[in-house]
């Protein structure tokens, strides 16, 4: 049976992090790929259980840092040597040791902005609406409950058989997530 278009997926609720990790591993072995696990705190094992890919975030931060570093130094060089050269105590216009602190601060600033904005962008935040919030008990995902949601767009998804599979994982409850 094909799911009606208004279903986002099926969500199983668990009591503790170990059950969620075990359930996620089982679902992954079963062949489900379009799914996500939700927990009130980061669980390292969960990322592996989902078979999630490496994040590109460190690369983004590195690029941010390089841009900040070159940009900061270029700003100093251009203003002090080209645009507005001033004789300060007989120092050369291109007095690179004096340019180090600002270059450093610009490196950190742009890298930090890249880390935060990059994290938010990769996570697709801010996101005003997401179907998982349609499950009333999902409010506990930020308190003490652990959720596994198999999404309807998974090729293997079937409302009946996926529900039966999730029931075998000893969840507290399985609910349908409206889209």
């Amino acid at each position: 049976m094909k799911p009606p278009p208004t279903v986002y997926g099926l969500m199983a609720e668990f009591d503790d992090p170990a059950s969620l990790v075990a359930a996620t591993e089982r679902a992954h072995r079963e062949g489900y790929r379009c799914m996500d696990a939700y927990s009130p705190f980061p669980i390292e094992e969960l990322t592996e259980a989902l078979g999630a890919e490496h994040t590109r975030l460190p690369l983004i931060v590195l690029i941010g840092g390089i841009v900040g570093c070159l940009g900061g130094y270029a700003l100093e060089y251009w203003t002090q040597v080209v645009a507005y050269p001033l004789n300060i105590g007989g120092k050369p216009y291109h007095s690179w040791p004096a340019f180090v602190p600002v270059t450093f601060e610009c490196t950190i600033l742009v890298a930090a902005l890249a880390a935060v904005l990059g994290m938010l962008a990769l996570n697709g935040l801010p996101q005003p609406y997401h179907p998982v919030f349609n499950v009333p008990r999902f409010a506990l995902a930020s308190r003490n409950r652990f959720f596994l949601c198999v999404e309807a767009r998974d090729p293997q998804f079937d409302l009946e058989s996926t529900r039966r599979f999730l029931e075998t994982l000893n969840p507290r409850e399985v609910s349908t997530v409206a889209d």
Binding site: D16, P17, A18, T24, D36, A37, Y38, S39, P40, F41, P42, I43, E45, L46, T47, L50, A52, T55, L57, P58, V61, G65, E76, T79, Q80, A83, Y84, L86, I88, G89, K91, S95, A98, F99, P101, V102, E105, C106, I108, L109, A111, A112, L113, A115, V116, G118, M119, L122, N123, L125, P126, Q127, H130, F133, F138, A139, A141, S142, R143, N144
Partner: protein
Amino acid sequence: MNNVGDSLQPVEDPNRAYVGAATPAVIAPGHTFGTVTDKISSIVLTRRTPLGWYLGFMAAGALAVLLLISLTYLVTKGIGIWGNNIPVGWAFDITNFVWWIGIGHAGTLISAILLLLKQTWRTSINRFAEAMTLFAVACAGIFPLFHTGRPWLAYWLFPYPNSMTLWPQFRSPLIWDVFAVSTYATVSALFWFVGLIPDLATLRDRSQSRAGRVVYGMLAMGWRGSARHWHRYDTAYLLLAGLATPLVVSVHTVVSFDFAVGIVPGWHTTIFPPYFVAGAIYSGFAMVLTLAIPIRAVYHLEDFITMRHLQNMAKVMLVTGLIVAYGYGTEAFIAWYSGDKYEGFVPMNRMFGPYAFYYWLLILCNVVIPQALWLKRVRTNVPLLFVISLIVNVGMWLERFVIIVISLSRDFLTSSWGRYAPTFWDWSTLLGTIGLFLSLLFLFLRFLPMISIFEIRTLLPEAKVSDE
């Protein structure tokens, strides 16, 4: 003799010997994910605001109004209302600036460096230490801003294409300071906000009122605790910590360059950067203790801010205090060893000159009294710890006063010696920023979770997935 022999005995469990059998836990036993969440979020959402909050906020708010009055008067009359005048062109303003910036450092140190060092005890105190950093930097910024005399033109300090075709002079430490402090403020704010996102989601989900759901919901930006999100979140947080660690060291280094690059005797020394950074951490931890001790008592947070935290902070204070004391010693030694008569005069002037009282008061506050922290009896005595933290706060303020005012008041030419005395407005501005700082802190305690709820959850025994 016996004692020495005892300590050489082989110990069965090396961990136990290292930590000590009586080390208190980081979190009191018996807590679950639910109780931790409820206890911390109830302070913001359901618990009645204690009467002390209203009284404290009123007192702090009154002082913040004093700041407003002082700054308004300053802008209408000019900075002549302060006591600084040539040769003492920097006095209370820059003293207060360095003091506030220094206080901010403990927040970043706790949140970033202790995170990288995997010191789990940081978790209960990092949130409000970071808030303290933000508010301290805000207070610090006021002083150089208004000391410019025309604060409405302060944007001239930033490089931007303008119709005057002028650019900042990047060989000046004062411009380095603009970049260091503004970067520090920005990165601290980012770090704090990123740390708050999952807890804002908790508040959104637990809030009973529509206003609470809407406001916390917008701030949480739709956070839903997805494992993929957590993965990137952890990466971002760790990278931010790695970036903030050299940043925090650089900020007080650059602040010390404001002095060290100048040729004034007593300023022109290479020891300034490390000695300033140690002093900053020293005063910052003192301020965290000053704030944590009353907060944990008023909000009954002894379960999360345990004796372990207070003792560890006391130990950090002791160590950084010793580094600072070593700095004082080196300063005096090098002044003598340099053979330079102007440098040699600086310690003499400090110890026996017109401001000698403040120098000795500084030594008493920063070097003598904190030695009591060697004793475990003192480190475990909460009221005493509170008093010592206040004394260190005063001592670190005096240190900056001694460095700035005493050096400037008597430099190379006796004909240009002078004296400085603060006016009413100097004091009112200092007190006013303390009021602003405390007002912001009271608002933070009321409206945001003062302890990181999600990080506390990870410390609970039930958070373990596999037995290692």
